[in-house]
């Protein structure tokens, strides 16, 4: 099926527009089409993954025009892996969204699902495209959908979304500038083509400008320290269904874009020998891990705590990339997968707690262990994974990162990964202690607080259980998929 790569974003686009039309006609029809479209896209992505693992990379040309003239879509193991991840999470988030949005932002329900589908279209488009400019278009589609979705909450939500819009637009525009420099020096927009033409031009200042703009631009989009300032506010004030959709996947897809361009187009030698880009990213990443984790400890609002934690996690992914060896990259990629499930589960739990108990504060989570055993069970599982306790998934990604650090002889990196484990334990145990050993605060006791509805509980446990399964099955994932990817990008 030579045209598979294109189908994924196209499926989301079609579903999005049909969902708007359907929703205008009958309320439930809009949701039904959205869920159906997301499920179809997920199935196509998974099929694509199996296909690519068996047969090798699939290329598709838009309009029948071959590269380098035309726009090419490439489904290689990395792309298939990420597309499957994003689309699977999309389905989970959409199922969760129905009751959650009804509770937190009922008036936005009509347009929520189409915009969410547009976000998924943009994200999967970024993943499967092989054209530099096409990536920009999908980048902005995803970002626009995210700005709109993040603004649907109450209080400071629109302002947080606005600030994200400003910073995100700078990021996207810097990336566009980088594409311009690359086009003017190499004459092509096709990623593979530019990768071939670039080495003789390594010394050029235009290429240097392109590289720097790419790193800063995508760094803004992925909230790499110190360009992460938009993230805490944006994730805190948005409705839970929105953070449940965006937090696990958005910054990771941006990290993928950075990996694809820095390692796949510029090449490993450029980032290490010609210009010390990867080491710089490494130091920024280490800063991000420490700052993010420390800030998380200081938070009183669970969502804000999780947001700072996300800054730290994306920084861990960046650290894996910056180590520039296969083990480190495997660690980073595995962490993309793991964090999506862990953080997704955590945000879904937060939404579930709000649904029944109406609270966001860490102190107010006291005593919920008895009232909401299932929800808190998932939270505990995800928290243990975030800290990195075997056999949960989180342990394995940190394990590979540490191995990568040792392999590169980079002891500060190893130290930072280990420190993050301790710091993460600090902010999660604070919550867990209250949940299991204390009595509920008056406002929670008064409201009641039983388990959230199945529509929210099931997705939460799909992710929570997934955390355990991913950990147990990590040998399979690393062996079959990630090792090949890492070898392709950074040699072995």
């Amino acid at each position: 099926m030579a045209h598979l790569p294109v189908l994924v974003p196209v499926a989301y686009l079609l579903a999005s527009f049909l969902s708007v039309l359907g929703g205008l006609w009958r309320d439930r029809l809009g949701y039904g089409i959205a869920l159906g479209g997301a499920a179809a896209a997920a199935l196509v992505s998974l099929w694509g993954l199996l296909l690519v693992l068996r047969q090798g990379t699939v290329h598709s040309f838009l309009g029948g025009w071959p590269p380098p003239i035309g726009i090419e879509y490439v489904l290689d193991p990395l792309a298939a892996f990420l597309a499957s991840l994003v689309s699977a999470l999309g389905v989970v988030a959409l199922v969760y969204a129905r009751p959650s949005v009804a509770r937190e932002a009922p008036e936005k329900a009509l347009l929520f699902y189409p915009v969410a589908l547009l976000l998924l279209a943009g994200l999967t488009g970024i993943v499967v495209t092989g054209d530099l400019f096409n990536l920009f278009v999908f980048l902005e589609i995803a970002s626009l959908a995210a700005y709109a979705l993040l603004a649907t909450g109450k209080g400071l939500s629109p302002l947080a979304a606005f600030r994200y819009l400003i910073l995100g637009t700078i990021g996207g525009s810097f990336y566009l500038l980088a594409v311009g420099f690359l086009y003017f020096t190499t004459g092509s927009l096709n990623m593979a083509d530019v990768a071939e033409r670039l080495p003789p031009l390594y010394e050029s200042r235009a290429v240097l400008a392109a590289a720097v703009f790419t790193v800063v631009g995508l760094g803004l989009k992925m909230a790499l320290f110190p360009l992460h300032l938009w993230l805490p506010d944006a994730y805190t004030y948005a409705p839970s269904a929105v953070t449940g959709l965006i937090a696990p996947v958005m910054t990771k897809v941006m990290a993928y874009a950075l990996i694809r361009i820095l390692l796949g187009v510029f090449g490993l030698t450029y980032g290490v020998e010609v210009v010390p880009l990867l080491p710089v990213i490494g130091w920024l990443a280490m800063g991000g891990v420490l700052v993010g984790s420390v800030m998380a400890i200081a938070q009183t609002d669970v969502r804000r705590m999780l947001a700072y934690s996300s800054v730290a996690q994306v920084a861990l992914v960046a650290l894996g990339v910056a180590l520039a060896n296969p083990l480190g990259l495997v660690g980073g990629l595995l962490h993309i997968l793991n964090h999506a499930f862990m953080k997704g589960c955590l945000f879904l739990v937060a939404g579930g707690v709000y649904y029944r108990a109406g609270v966001w504060g860490v102190a107010q989570y006291a005593g919920l262990g008895r009232r909401m055993p299932w929800t808190m069970g998932a939270f505990t599982l995800a928290a243990l994974a975030m800290i990195g306790i075997p056999p949960t998934a989180g342990f394995f990604s940190k394990w590979y990162l540490v191995l990568g650090g040792i392999d590169a002889g980079h002891w500060p990196a190893v130290g930072v990964v280990l420190a993050s484990t301790l710091l993460t334990a600090a902010y999660f145990f604070r919550v867990l202690e209250g949940v299991y050993t204390r009595e509920p605060v008056p406002e929670v006791a008064a409201v009641g607080g039983s388990e959230p509805p199945l529509g929210m509980l099931v997705p939460t446990w799909v992710l929570g259980g997934g955390v355990l399964l991913l950990g147990l099955g990590n040998v399979l994932i690393v062996g079959r998929v990630l090792e090949q990817v890492a070898r392709d990008l950074v040699g072995g």
Binding site: H3, L7, V10, L13, L14, F17, L21, G64
Partner: protein, 144 residues
């Protein structure tokens, strides 16, 4: 709620100009693939003609020319037109947006490509027109 402009000079000139702008817009759309112009530019011009009427005549009096409720469905239809034109070739053995494989009997490939892009440009124009008017209407009503 936008109200009608008090001066009859403004309203009359607007009513005369709007169809002319729309006509020019159609010209721009049709010539996009061959000379300066295209779907987006034409769509913006079409939106400009509608918005001129909105501003001069107010929401109520300009509604017969373009009811506000039409905007969003029009935009979606435009995009669907584009997307369907892209997807149909997939079922007939070509790639996405491979106009050469569109099901029109007896036409040679270059001609099909020529018309394929025209259909897409029309879709884009509709989408842009609908979206611009929808955004304007929402903002003017203060809904955001």
């Amino acid at each position: 709620m936008l109200t009608r402009h008090p001066s009859p000079v403004v309203t009359t000139v607007a009513r005369l100009l709007a169809p002319l702008i729309a006509l020019f817009a159609l010209y721009v759309v049709a010539h996009g693939h061959y000379s300066p112009g295209g779907g987006f530019q034409g769509g913006v011009l079409l939106a400009a003609s509608t918005l001129l009427l909105r501003l001069a005549l107010g929401e109520k009096d300009s509604a017969p020319a373009f009811p506000p409720s039409l905007a969003l469905p029009m935009a979606v239809t435009g995009v669907l037109l584009y997307t369907v034109t892209g997807v149909v070739p997939l079922f007939l053995g070509g790639g996405y947006l491979d106009y050469a494989r569109l099901p029109w009997p007896g036409a040679p490939a270059p001609l099909l490509r020529y018309f394929g892009i025209l259909v897409v440009e029309v879709g884009v124009a509709l989408a842009v027109w609908g979206t611009m008017v929808a955004i304007f209407d929402r903002l003017a009503r203060g809904e955001g």
